[in-house]
C-alpha cells in the first residue's frame, strides 16, 4: 500500500517573483511541498498569499522563478512545452472558480475538450464525455449551452471536463466560490467521490467548513506554508481503483492499429 502512495509532486524551495528590484513581489517564497498520490489537500489562506500561483505552477501553466518542481520525479523545467501541454490534457485536470466553460460550445463538447488534444476521434470523444456527464447527472443537458445551466450544473460540467481523460491530479481553484451552499455541497460530494477512487486533489478554498473533506489542510501566508495538518495517515489514503488505472478508451485510430497488429500476429 505504501508503494501505491508514492510521491507524485515535490516542490523544493520554489519561488515565484513578479517584477524586479524595488518593485519585486513574491507570490511564492522558498516553498516546499511533497504531495503523495491519493491525498486531498486543501489550501487556505488570505487573498494574495500565492494559492492560485501555486496551482498554476503545479498545473504546468506557469513556471517558477527559481526552485525545483518534480512531477512524478521528473523536473518540470526539463519537460518541453509540447509535453507539458500533453500532460495537461492527460494527467492534470483543472477546475476553476468561474467554471471557464467555452460559451460557444455545448456542454458535451466542453467536457470533451481535453480529449481533443489527446488524440481522440470525435465520436469517441463524445461517447466518453457523455459517459462522464451521465455520472454527474447531466446527461439530459448534454447539448445545452453553458449559459442555459445553473452555476452548480456548470461547475459539475467543469468537473466532468477535468476528469474526462482520467487524470492523476485534479487542481481545483475555489470550485465552490461562486456557488450556493447546496450546489457547493453537491460539488464537494463529487470531488469526494473522485478522491475516493484514488485521485490526488489539490484544492484552494476560503471556506473552512469544507476542510472536512480533506486529508490534509495547508494554511498559507505570504507565499509560504503557515500550518500543514494531515488529518488522515498516509497509509490510510485511498489507492487508485483498478478501473482508474485503465485508460478511458483508445482512439479509433489506435484501436485500428492494435487490431491490425493482432491480425498480423495471427498471420
Amino acid at each position: 500500500m505504501a508503494e501505491e502512495n508514492e510521491i507524485i509532486i515535490k516542490l523544493e524551495s520554489l519561488t515565484k517573483r513578479y517584477g524586479y528590484g524595488d518593485a519585486a513581489s513574491y507570490a511564492l517564497k522558498d516553498f516546499d511541498l511533497t504531495v503523495k498520490r491519493g491525498e486531498f489537500i486543501m489550501i487556505m489562506g488570505p487573498s494574495g498569499c500565492g494559492k492560485t500561483t501555486l496551482l498554476n505552477i503545479i498545473g504546468l501553466l506557469d513556471a517558477p522563478t527559481s526552485g525545483v518542481y518534480l512531477l512524478n520525479n521528473e523536473p518540470a523545467s526539463r519537460i518541453s512545452a509540447r509535453r507539458q501541454a500533453r500532460l495537461r490534457s492527460k494527467k492534470i485536470g483543472f477546475i476553476f472558480q468561474n467554471f471557464n466553460l467555452i460559451p460557444d460550445l455545448p456542454i458535451i463538447e466542453n467536457v470533451a475538450l481535453p480529449l481533443v488534444y489527446s488524440g481522440y476521434h470525435k465520436t469517441r470523444r463524445l461517447i466518453r464525455a457523455s459517459e462522464v456527464l451521465d455520472r454527474f447527472n447531466l446527461k439530459e443537458k448534454e447539448y445545452y449551452m453553458p449559459f442555459q445551466l445553473s452555476g452548480g450544473q456548470q461547475q459539475r460540467a467543469a468537473i466532468a471536463r477535468a476528469i474526462v481523460s482520467g487524470p492523476e491530479i485534479i487542481l481545483a481553484d475555489e470550485p465552490t466560490g461562486n456557488l450556493d451552499s447546496h450546489s457547493s455541497s453537491l460539488v464537494m460530494e463529487e470531488l469526494k467521490r473522485i478522491h475516493s477512487e484514488g485521485n490526488t486533489i489539490i484544492m484552494v478554498t476560503h471556506n473552512p467548513t469544507l476542510t472536512k473533506y480533506a486529508t490534509r489542510v495547508i494554511n498559507m501566508l505570504d507565499g509560504a506554508i503557515d500550518t500543514d495538518i494531515k488529518t488522515v495517515k498516509d497509509s490510510d489514503l485511498p489507492v487508485p481503483v483498478a478501473s482508474r488505472k485503465k485508460k478511458p478508451q483508445k482512439s479509433l485510430k489506435k484501436q485500428k492499429k492494435s487490431k491490425n497488429k493482432k491480425k498480423k500476429g495471427k498471420k
Binding site: L61, R82, F96, N100, I102
Partner: protein, 408 residues
C-alpha cells in the same frame, strides 16, 4: 496526424459558423480578388485559343515570314504596340516575295505591308489601315468578296479593295464599287468589297473589316519606304512543310547576305507574337488584380486578429485543458485557410459567371484549364497562409493564465 488535422478542421469550421456574416464578408473579399484574376486569365486563354483556332482553320499548309525574332522580349512586344518603330525595322522586301514564289512546294505567296494613313473618299478618314499585298492574299486568307473582284496583277489603273466596315466610314454604303479615293496623293478605284469577317483578333494583327487593300508594288512606287511586316505563304504539300520552311529560311539568308533578322514560322508558332502580346497585357492586368487579393488578404488578417482577441479566454481554457502551441496555431491558421479557400472557390464561380456574361457580347468564350484552377487554388491558399500566419502565431503565443482572466 490526419486525425489531428481533421480535428483542427472541425474546430475551425465550427468557430467560423458562429460568425456567419463576418465569415461570409471576409470570403467575399477574397472571392472578388480571385474572381478578377481568374476572369483575366480566362479572357487571355480564350483569346489565345481563338487565335490558335483561326490558324488551324487557315490550314496546316500556312507558313509565315516575319522580320525579327518572335521569341520576343517584353521590349519587342511593346515596340510592336508602338508600331511605327517596327515598320522601320522590317528587312523583308518585295524581292523576298518573288524569291519565295519560285521555291518548290510553294503554291502562293502574299506580302503584308501594313501602314496607317489618311484616306479621302466621300468622307475623310484620318487614320485607316492600309495593307499593301498582292492578288494571292484573298486565296491565302480564305477570304471571300462581297462584291466585285480582288486586286489583279495585271491591273492597268490603281485599284483597291475595301473592308466592309471602312467602306461604310468612307462612303456611307457597303457597295462603293467604282468610287475613287485618294491615298498619299494618288487616286485609287474601288474594285471590290470584302465580306464581313468580324475577326478583329487574328494572327495578322489586322482588322480586315476596316482595312484597305492595295497592291504592294503600287504602294512601293508611291511611297518608297514600303515596309513588309509579314509574308504569308501557302505550301502545296503539307508533308514536306518543315523542309519548305528551311528552304525559305536558307533562301532568304542567302539573298540578304547572311542577315538572319527574320523568322519563318508555321503551325502553332504563328500565334506567338499575338499570344505574347496578350500574355503581357493580361499579366499586367493580373498583377493589378493581385492587389485586390492583397486587400482581401488584409481583410482576412484583420478578421482573424479580431477573432483572436475576442476568443482570448477560449484560448486560455483550451491551453489549460491541454492545447499546445501548435494546436492553437493550427486551429487559427485553418480558420484563415478555410476563409480564403472558400473565398477562392466562390471567386472561381463568380469569374465564370462573369466570363459567361462577357461571352454573350464578345467573341471570347469562357476558358477553363487546369492551370487556371491551380492558380485560383494556389492564390487563395497562399493568401490564407500569408495573412493567417501572424494572427495564428499571436493566438498560440497567448499566456494561458492572463488569457483565463480575460473576459471579452
Amino acid at each position: 496526424m490526419s486525425l489531428l488535422l481533421k480535428t483542427h478542421y472541425e474546430l475551425a469550421k465550427s468557430s467560423l459558423r458562429q460568425n456567419r456574416t463576418r465569415s461570409f464578408l471576409t470570403c467575399l473579399g477574397i472571392g472578388i480578388g480571385v474572381a478578377s484574376i481568374i476572369l483575366i486569365l480566362s479572357l487571355m486563354g480564350s483569346i489565345s485559343s481563338l487565335i490558335s483556332s483561326q490558324v488551324s482553320q487557315m490550314g496546316s499548309d500556312l507558313i509565315v515570314v516575319r522580320p525579327s525574332s518572335t521569341r520576343s522580349t517584353v521590349d519587342s512586344v511593346v515596340n510592336e504596340l508602338t508600331s511605327s518603330t517596327q515598320y522601320l525595322k522590317s528587312n523583308l522586301t518585295l524581292k523576298d516575295v518573288s524569291l519565295i514564289e519560285k521555291l518548290n512546294n510553294v503554291s502562293s505567296v502574299a506580302p503584308l505591308a501594313v501602314s496607317v494613313n489618311s484616306l479621302q473618299g466621300d468622307d475623310f478618314v484620318p487614320s485607316a489601315t492600309i495593307v499593301g499585298t498582292n492578288a494571292n492574299f484573298l486565296k491565302i486568307q480564305n477570304l471571300t468578296l462581297k462584291s466585285g473582284t480582288f486586286l489583279r496583277e495585271d491591273a492597268k489603273t490603281n485599284t483597291a479593295v475595301i473592308g466592309a466596315g471602312l467602306a461604310n466610314d468612307l462612303y456611307g454604303t457597303d457597295e462603293p464599287i467604282g468610287k475613287s479615293l485618294t491615298l498619299l496623293g494618288s487616286r485609287f478605284i474601288i474594285v471590290g468589297v470584302l465580306s464581313k469577317v468580324d475577326d478583329p483578333i487574328n494572327f495578322n494583327n489586322l482588322d480586315l473589316d476596316s482595312s484597305l487593300f492595295v497592291s504592294a508594288k503600287v504602294l512601293n512606287q508611291i511611297d518608297n519606304s514600303l515596309q513588309i511586316q509579314q509574308i504569308n505563304v501557302r505550301a502545296t504539300n503539307t508533308d514536306g512543310i518543315e523542309d519548305t520552311v528551311n528552304l525559305i529560311r536558307e533562301t532568304l539568308i542567302a539573298s540578304k547576305a547572311g542577315d538572319t533578322n527574320f523568322s519563318v514560322l508555321y503551325g502553332e508558332e504563328i500565334t506567338h507574337p499575338a499570344g505574347t502580346l496578350f500574355s503581357i497585357i493580361s499579366g499586367t492586368l493580373a498583377i493589378v488584380a493581385g492587389v485586390s487579393l492583397i486587400v482581401g488578404g488584409i481583410g482576412v488578417m484583420n478578421i482573424m486578429l479580431v477573432s483572436v482577441s475576442e476568443r482570448t479566454h477560449e484560448i486560455g481554457v483550451r491551453k489549460a485543458v491541454g492545447a499546445s502551441f501548435s494546436n492553437i496555431f493550427l486551429q487559427f491558421l485553418f480558420e484563415a485557410l478555410i476563409l480564403t479557400l472558400t473565398g477562392g472557390f466562390f471567386g472561381l464561380a463568380l469569374a465564370y459567371v462573369l466570363a459567361f456574361l462577357i461571352s454573350l457580347v464578345t467573341p471570347f468564350a469562357p476558358y477553363i484549364s487546369w492551370e487556371i484552377l491551380a492558380v485560383s487554388f494556389l492564390t487563395s491558399f497562399a493568401d490564407g497562409l500569408i495573412f493567417g500566419l501572424y494572427p495564428a502565431i499571436k493566438a498560440a503565443k497567448k499566456n494561458p493564465i492572463s488569457s483565463l482572466k480575460f473576459w471579452g
